[in-house]
């Protein structure tokens, strides 16, 4: 309950602590709201600045985004929307009289003339034409609302920048200069930065109309679901998805269509055209996609047409969960398991890692790819190089994990000994039952197809590791061996996905002349040409061999140091490889057969 209407002056500290001020409850104060400037959930504080100058109401006109081009400079800035002299309570004499000293002392000489000016000829002048703020002056410092370009010309500042400068105005007298943009005219007004809240009660100035402070808030489930510039709300929905797959259409485990074309096509989840056959693939630029998206009205009315998405695939009215995978068959004995790991899987991981790395060197660098002709090639090679490198690194990690499984089996005395496995495999699977020779090749489409084939789920690799994981389900084995094996198996799906994404991106260049413009003309070099790189490679192998052996025998410090040295050598190898590839030389990790 507020204190009575009697005049009471609390004298001492406990009296002051207990003193309740009459006024709005706490939650109506700006400082207590979830208010910010972008635009906010409770109050949009930018709306305070529209009326920063008593008697005037501005709109801040800005580009769509701060990196959008300056296409309409004549519109940008703080535009005078209207003059509010009668309605603005802060201009009226009663308000000024009611201020405390010392505010009253300096506001009074400004308020009277300002009100007269706005009611008189200045107001009339400003009512005709299009007026913007040209400059703001406070404490003798004037800031122009126009920026100077390198060529010496000026153009108006983007409204967002003007707003930011207005937000920085301090409490106190302010002078503004207004200029007419559709004609000649200059007006100077002396005023002050409005007191946004009452100093005693904290109540927001009565100049703000009901609803005005909240008129531009986030609208999470309508417009901002579509268009939040900071992506806060839009992060709750997918941008691109795979299209719905009809029942009966063959699918992969994980739900994607077997048909590569259909499986790889990504659709804009908010596309306006909802019928399947007409849905075009999404572009990879938001502004281009917007043209085909549901607009604000449509989304409010037709939101129920947006599809539910499971595993990045739209589903229709009926959802068929993917078939449960058949349980993998464990190996007959730990010897059989160890043999498979040692002789088949570890060498395969190492060989694939090198094939991927070699292919990665064959992709042009972003600098090499830049230039006219293929506007997106620079971005595309960044994408492909990055994801190919991730996949190669993942294979190297698998190589480590396989070795780790083997040395832990040795540690648990389930196998008689452990020697580091860092050898190559002469062949690589291309599908169940088929193999191809290992090969160091550029990332041409055929190569990429081979990479995808080896990583295909339920193909060879993950099937093999699934058997390993199934074997480790028994309590005989340390628990985390099962985890390691499962991780390797699950990674396969990700490699498959990534490689297919790379393929989709590079499809753009099908039929180009000359072909494969994104590739360097790399051929395997001679050992002499690639001597330094091969030395690095040998260093990697040597250090990993020593490191794994140490780890197997419990010498973790020494092992850690060796592995760190291997990592350093790996980085040096990557730099060397780039240098050589730019000169057309591929590292001959193994002799050409």
């Amino acid at each position: 309950m507020a204190m009575g209407s009697r005049k009471l002056l609390p004298r001492n500290l406990t009296a002051r602590a207990a003193y309740r001020v009459a006024g709005n409850p706490d939650i109506t104060r700006p400082e207590d709201s979830v208010g910010n400037c972008y635009p906010g959930l409770d109050t949009d504080l930018r709306n305070l600045d529209r009326r920063f100058f008593p008697g005037l109401v501005f709109e801040f006109v800005a580009r769509r985004d701060t990196d959008a081009p300056y296409t309409e400079p004549h519109r940008y800035g703080a535009w005078l929307s209207y003059i509010d002299n009668w309605g603005d309570p802060d201009l009226q004499p009663e308000y000024v009289r009611g201020l405390d000293e010392p505010d009253r002392k300096w506001v009074a000489p400004l308020a009277g003339p300002l009100l007269d000016a706005l009611k008189g000829t200045v107001g009339e002048t400003l009512s005709v034409g299009i007026w913007y703020i040209d400059w703001i002056e406070q404490h003798g410092k004037r800031i122009s609302m126009n920026e100077r370009l390198p060529d010496g010309s000026t153009r108006p500042l983007d409204g967002l920048f003007v707003w930011r400068l207005v937000r920085g105005i301090e409490r106190g007298p302010v002078t503004i200069g207004l200029g007419r943009r559709d004609g000649d005219g200059q007006v100077v007004l002396n005023g002050w930065r409005r007191f946004f809240t009452d100093p005693h009660t904290g109540v927001i100035s009565a100049a703000y109309q009901p609803g005005e402070i909240m008129q531009s808030l986030c609208s999470p489930w309508q417009h901002d679901f579509r268009d939040c510039t900071c992506h806060y709300w839009a992060s709750n929905r997918p941008d691109v998805v795979h299209g719905e797959i009809d029942p009966g259409v063959p699918r992969l485990p994980g739900g994607r269509a077997v048909d590569a074309e259909r499986a790889e096509t990504l659709l804009d989840w908010m596309r306006a055209e909802r019928s399947q056959p007409m849905a075009g693939a999404t572009t990879n630029e938001m502004p281009l996609n917007r043209l085909d998206q549901m607009d604000y009205f449509q989304i409010n009315r037709a939101w129920q047409e947006l599809n539910v998405v499971i595993q990045n695939t739209e589903i229709g009215e009926v959802f068929f969960p993917p078939a449960a995978e058949a349980a993998a068959r464990p190996f007959g004995s730990v010897e059989e398991l160890a043999t498979e790991l040692r002789d088949v899987l570890a060498p395969l991981e190492m060989t694939l890692a090198l094939e991927y790395i070699y292919a990665r060197f064959s992709l042009r660098s972003p600098e090499e790819a830049a230039g006219p002709g293929w506007p997106t090639m620079s971005d595309d090679v960044i994408f492909a190089r990055h994801y190919l490198m991730l996949t190669a690194a993942s294979e190297m990690q698998h190589l480590r994990w396989v070795n780790e499984i083997l040395w832990r089996l040795f540690d648990a005395k389930l196998v008689p000994d452990y020697r580091p496995v860092l050898v190559l495999s002469p062949t690589v699977p291309t599908g169940p039952g088929t193999r191809r020779p290992r090969a160091l090749r550029r990332l041409e489409p055929a190569t990429l197809d081979d990479f995808i084939a080896v990583e295909r789920p339920s193909g060879t690799i993950d099937g093999a590791y699934a058997r390993v994981a199934a074997t480790f389900a028994s309590d005989v084995y340390p628990q985390h061996l099962k985890d390691l094996a499962s991780r390797i198996a699950n990674d396969g799906m990700e490699h498959y996905s990534r490689l297919r994404d790379i393929r989709r991106v590079l499809q753009l260049y099908t039929g180009a002349t000359p072909p494969h413009p994104y590739l360097r003309p790399v051929e395997p070099g001679t050992p002499e040409q690639a001597a330094s790189a091969l030395a690095r490679y040998a260093e990697v192998v040597r250090n990993l061999t020593a490191g794994y052996a140490d780890m197997a025998h419990g010498a973790f410090d020494a092992g850690g140091r060796s592995i760190a040295a291997a990592r350093a050598a790996m980085n040096a190898l990557l730099d060397e490889g780039e240098r050589l590839a730019a000169a057309g030389i591929g590292i001959p990790f193994w002799p050409a057969s």
Binding site: A2, M3, G4, R6, L8, P10, R11, N12, A18
Partner: protein
């Protein structure tokens, strides 16, 4: 003032009518109309007053929620390092130093146990206090020194800061005491009952000779060394030294950091106690000193009248307490044998026995003590407007003599409230929150 209701107290000032809201010791300036309403409600009874306070919003915040303490932590000990003294003051609660028993000095083992008990459960950052009393503590200087040094060591180890205090008759002070006390930032209190003969009549050596000259001579080095160490003069007021203003002025001149008056209300043999007519004189003298304080402070001068300073600080803070002090709560007096007592006055007094330094505070006894002695349980305190500022009066005095000085307290506080308003208006910088 007569018939003032229990929940508020009206007072007039040069700056208009005011009210003290007893809950929270809140002070407000009010308009005359509300003043009249309050007076009207007061004559109608406690319920009417409560209704009025509620309607004005004063009851929206309740300050005094817990009127009793329970199991408070031990934070402060005074060691009766010497139950003996070289002076023979008539009114002494220690009855010449021995507390009615044979003279003794506190052995080191007891002092050590006391210091360790003091730091017992204190956590880093919490502050503790160690005081040396008696009798005359400087008759057992070695224990004082040693206990201090031990406390300093433990304080550093545990991260628990310790403050030191000593109350002394001043006759045995040596120059190296100044060094020692200054080095450990002691709060030194010297008992001085007046100037020259006034003091000598009340505080003679056991031989009968006056001690004033000796004391003044020996405290000089300490007065000069004040800084972190502060030296206060404590004047025990009896019917024979009621000329407070002269004493105060002289002692301020001498350079004491503060000068305070303690009415003698309960002495063991009843001698030198203040009775009713004396209390009226005392009140008038205290107020006269207070007015001088106001004058000097408004003029920007120093006038360290301790009672007034305390009162201004407490009123400004709105101090409200259910007890007069920490006796038996966080503060205990330790006898030379190691007994824990409610305070230094209760040493060897069964009425205040609360345990032993070896075994700690007897929680059952303490709980009873705290429950019984809370001010809202006392008569006539529970219906007195001054109760949360006063706290009920010194436990030792109340138990042994009763409450003869309630009018004095109320009179003094009434004056202090008025003075507070005056000083807040005239030199607000005195009260930085």
């Amino acid at each position: 003032m007569i018939g003032s209701p229990a929940d508020l107290h009206r007072f007039e000032t040069d700056f208009g009518p005011h009210v003290l809201i007893v809950d929270g010791s809140r002070v407000y300036a009010i308009d005359p109309a509300l003043g009249h309403e309050i007076d009207g409600a007061a004559s109608a009874g406690r319920e009417a007053v409560r209704a009025l306070l509620s309607s004005q919003g004063f009851a929206d915040t309740v300050f005094m929620r817990e009127t009793e303490l329970r199991d408070p932590p031990l934070r402060s000990l005074s060691l009766a390092v010497a139950q003996k003294c070289n002076l023979g003051c008539q009114y002494c609660y220690a009855q010449g130093g021995g507390f009615g028993g044979p003279e003794k000095a506190m052995p080191w083992a007891v002092a050590e146990a006391s210091v360790r008990r003091l730091f017992g459960q204190a956590r880093p950052g919490e502050r503790v206090n160690l005081a040396f009393l008696g009798g005359e503590p400087l008759t057992n200087r070695p224990v004082v020194r040693r206990a201090t040094e031990l406390a300093v060591r433990i304080a550093a180890e545990r991260g628990v800061p310790v403050g030191f205090a000593i109350t002394t008759n001043g006759t045995l002070l040596r120059p190296d005491d100044a060094e020692f006390f200054a080095g450990h930032a002691f709060a030194v209190t010297v008992s001085l009952d007046g100037v020259g003969e006034v003091h000598d009549r009340l505080r003679p050596f056991k031989s009968g000779r006056g001690s004033y000259g000796t004391v003044i001579e020996r405290i000089k080095p300490l007065l000069e060394r004040q800084g972190a160490m502060q030296v206060s003069a404590r004047v025990t007021v009896t019917p024979r030294n009621l000329g407070l203003r002269d004493t105060l002025d002289r002692f301020v001149e001498l350079g004491f950091e503060s000068v305070g008056f303690s009415p003698m209300l309960s002495s063991p043999a009843g001698s030198a106690q203040l009775d009713e007519p004396d209390l009226d004189v005392l009140l008038a003298e205290m107020i006269a000193c207070g007015r001088e304080f106001e004058r000097r402070v408004v003029a920007g001068q120093r006038y360290p009248f301790a009672n007034m300073r305390s009162a201004m600080q407490e009123i400004h803070r709105g101090t409200h307490r259910p007890y007069p002090c920490g006796a038996g709560a966080g503060y205990f007096g330790v006898s030379a044998d190691g007994g824990l007592f409610a305070c230094h006055r209760f040493v060897d007094d069964p009425a205040g026995a609360m345990g032993h330094v070896e075994t700690g505070v007897d929680r059952d006894v303490q709980r009873r003590w705290l429950a019984e002695r809370a001010v809202d349980r006392q008569e006539p305190c529970r219906s007195c407007w001054a109760r949360y500022l006063c706290g009920g009066g010194c436990h030792h005095e109340v138990i042994h003599r009763g409450r003869p000085a309630c009018d004095l307290i109320r009179g003094w506080l009434h004056y202090c409230l008025q003075a507070y308003v005056n000083l807040q208006e005239r030199c607000p910088e005195l009260f930085t929150s």
